[in-house]
């Protein structure tokens, strides 16, 4: 019996290791363990909405992979996003993207892992 349990425990441990992914987002400091799932859920929703509303203009494709740019915290304010750019004034309207959804997009962009800095090419 003891033997079976040990094997099972080892097996579960191995599965756990295999499926343990790299964290996709930067957790806020001091976040409690129980809130992490909810936090990720918010980021994921924001990511989908980013894909719908922003990716077309803002994302780039590098080696067949989508690269979502890093924005500075100053860029991520709904007021400046909506009114700060000529193009956004006709696209990023309350009619197209309500405040609730824009907040989710900002939540995602504010917590995603920054892109690796691109190495300057050696000559």
């Amino acid at each position: 019996m003891k033997y079976i349990l040990t094997v099972m425990a080892a097996f579960l441990f191995l599965i756990g290791c295999a499926t343990k992914k790299q964290p996709m987002y930067i957790y806020p400091q001091g976040i409690v363990e129980e809130k992490k799932a909810e936090f990720v859920q918010y980021c994921e929703k924001g990511k989908v909405l980013y894909g719908i509303h922003c990716a077309k203009c803002h994302s780039t494709v590098v080696a067949d992979k989508e690269v979502i740019p890093d924005f500075t915290p100053l860029q991520l304010s709904t007021y400046d996003m909506r009114l700060g750019f000529t193009k956004h004034q006709s696209t990023l309207t309350e009619r197209n993207i309500p405040e609730e959804e824009l907040e989710l997009i900002i939540f995602f962009l504010g917590h995603k892992i920054p892109n690796a800095p691109t190495e300057p090419k050696k000559k």
Binding site: L83, S90, E99
Partner: protein, 641 residues
């Protein structure tokens, strides 16, 4: 050969001339005109300040002289009102604020706490002169604030938009909307006898601005069609009586202001004007009339289904929303639905009781049920502005223990136990890829989408404005009273006749002194907006509702204390609660009597009836979806309350 040369030569000359004389925009003169006007206003205010400092404010004659000086200064303010209101609406509150303290939550600030805005300037100074004791320092401070605020209009950061033509059509739009909504009503004008003279002066000054614009921005001109109509509007205002209660507000808006607005909207579209100002945040460039329901954007009625444009899917959301609206499954005891209080046979309110039953079916709720028609034209929802969107209201009402008493997670399970709901919502998930499964947001959004479709009807009054349909004289008399002597329009703004004034970015709250009972024995104990924003000015304040369809939505006021519109008009005529002798410290309504005659009250009622919208009401659904839980299948369409 020579012929060809000559033709070539002529062609070259024509080409040269057309290039040489092509209009070139140069904002220099236009900006200079602006700077001169602003400076004149500043100098006039400095003179007023000196006058106040020298005056000893002892006798009635002293005060009368200051009043005259204020009127003079107001005139030069009206000369630049066109710019002041648009370029910096916050600074304007220091120049001509209507109240000493205002609390605001504008659309883009919805997630934040209300902001306190301190008012100052000419209107408050003129009103202060009527106080029993006038302190020189307090009076001077109101003017000093206005001078500082005026100086901010000379700063580069404020004048930068003047370099480009775009600001002009946006300033003009706000100006035209204000001509329709406030400039003729006495809003932010302390003396009624000055309303029309100030209007005339302002309109003439704006003509001067139009001319300066034409000289500086020839490539995006204000066409002659507009200028000619504006000229006729000037003549109309000139020939009208000085008394704003004799002024023909109806014709002024119908024949001049609204057509001018429509033209300006076509220029905004033609010249591809984009705005970088929050002033234009809610306004719709596509709206062709002030009286079209798409003039401004208040609420997202589709909620999470915002991106659904496919007709088939919209029909499904509407169908399921309707079912949910009538389905008592939303309440903990499966006997109360939205319909229980928002009766679709009674304009989506309950005309039978002052306030509806609580969930316990014994006690009563503290507030009257509001109609759901036209709620989307508000930025804050509920009488106390507690909710920032319609879907949050649905979420709260189902879980409020006094109303429907449900637990939201359990409720969602109950709803999805019905195959029809489950299947429909699951099919709709493709439109909301950010949600992996059906949430209560889907439920709430279907409900708000359903009931909002009754908010797109038009009233005979709108048709008179837009299509020139004839109106009985009593309607126009009633409207003209509404806009002037009866002082209704200073809170119930054209065109929705609710508390949202141009540029339609915020909702206003007022303290009326509504009594607890018809005999005015006490003030209603309900603290109103104070419960959400505990500021002393907000005690007993409520969000201003719309006048549209109110002939069908009795009883009235937040507590349903009045059962007829006659009683409501009598209440306002008496000067609200304070006018009726109640102690209301912070009433925002004047406590003076309006002195309305019986005939005038009748005209007001006739006008109110002309705001009855043609609404395509629907019969309730024949039956509700069947649940897998058998005990749920006894529920009645609309519930039992």
């Amino acid at each position: 050969m020579a012929k060809t040369l000559i033709i070539f030569f002529i062609f070259t000359i024509i080409a040269f001339l057309s290039i040489a004389f092509q209009p070139v925009d140069d904002p220099k003169d236009y900006i200079k005109r602006y700077e001169t006007k602003i400076n004149n206003f500043r100098v006039q205010q400095l003179a007023l300040l000196q006058y106040i400092k020298k005056n000893n404010l002892q006798t009635a004659i002293d005060l009368e002289e200051i009043k005259e000086q204020i009127d003079l200064t107001r005139n030069s303010m009206k000369g630049v009102d066109f710019f002041l209101r648009y370029l910096d609406p916050l600074a304007y509150k220091k120049i001509n604020g209507p109240l000493p303290v205002e609390w605001e939550t504008e659309v883009f600030e919805k997630y934040e706490k209300p902001y306190k805005r301190i008012g100052a300037g000419l209107t408050l100074a003129a009103l202060y002169l009527e106080e029993p004791v006038v302190e020189k320092d307090s009076l001077a401070r109101l003017i000093q604030s206005a001078i500082s605020a005026t100086e901010s209009y000379q700063a580069d950061s404020t004048t930068r938009p003047l370099q480009a033509y775009t600001h002009f059509f946006l300033c003009n739009r706000l100006y035209l909307l204000n001509l329709a909504a406030i400039y003729t009503t006495g809003f932010e004008c302390p003396h009624t006898d000055r309303v029309i003279p100030e209007l005339r002066h302002m309109m003439a000054e704006v003509k001067d601005i139009y001319l300066a614009y034409a000289g500086s921005f020839p490539s995006t001109p204000l066409p002659n069609e507009y200028l000619e109509l504006y000229e006729r509007a000037l003549l109309f205002a000139r020939d009208q009586p000085n008394d704003n209660s004799m002024f023909d507000h109806f014709t002024f808006i119908k024949d001049y202001i609204n057509p001018l607005f429509s033209l300006n909207q076509t220029y905004i579209r033609r010249y591809e004007v984009v705005s970088a100002s929050f002033v234009d945040y809610s306004l719709n460039n596509e709206a062709t009339s002030i009286f079209k329901k798409d003039l401004y954007y208040g609420q997202n009625t589709k909620g999470i289904f915002l991106r659904v444009h496919d007709d088939k899917a919209l029909v499904e959301i509407d169908r399921i929303g309707k079912m949910l609206f009538y389905d008592p499954i939303l309440s903990a005891n499966n006997s109360r639905s939205c319909f229980s209080c928002h009766n679709s046979f009674e304009y989506f309110t309950d005309t039978a009781t002052a306030t509806a039953f609580q969930f316990n079916h014994q006690d009563f709720l503290p507030r009257n049920t509001p109609s759901l028609i036209n709620v989307e034209y508000n930025h804050l929802v509920m009488l106390d502005g507690k909710h920032i969107n319609l879907q949050n209201q649905v979420k709260e009402v189902v879980s409020n223990h006094m109303e429907m008493g449900s637990d939201r997670a359990a409720l969602l399970k109950k709803i999805l136990s019905c195959a029809d709901y489950e299947k429909t919502f699951k099919n709709l998930l493709t439109y909301t890829p950010q949600e992996k499964e059906v949430t209560f947001d889907h439920v709430a959004s279907a409900i708000t989408f359903y009931y909002s479709k009754f908010s797109y009807g038009y009233a005979p009054f709108d048709e008179a404005m837009d299509q020139n349909k004839p109106m009985p004289p009593a309607v126009t008399r009633g409207f003209n009273l509404f806009m002037s002597k009866a002082q209704c329009a200073t809170c119930h703004f054209v065109p929705q006749f609710n508390g949202v004034k141009p540029p339609f970015v915020g909702s206003e709250f007022e303290v009326l002194g509504t009594p607890a009972d018809k005999n005015f024995t006490a003030l209603s104990a309900d603290v109103g907006r104070f419960g959400v924003n505990p500021a002393p000015e907000m005690l007993h304040a409520f969000r201003t509702g719309s006048i549209r369809n109110i002939a069908h939505t009795k009883p009235y006021m937040h507590n349903g204390v009045f059962t007829s519109l006659e009683e409501v008009i009598d209440f306002y005529n008496a000067g609200g609660g304070a006018g009726k002798g109640l102690k209301v410290e912070n009433q925002t309504l004047s406590s003076d009597s309006l002195h309305l005659s019986a005939a005038e009250k009748k005209d007001l009622l006739v006008f109110i009836h002309a705001l009855d919208e043609k609404i395509p009401f629907e019969a309730p659904p024949a039956k509700l979806p069947t649940s897998r839980t058998k005990s749920l299948n006894n529920r009645k369409v609309g519930g039992d309350y």
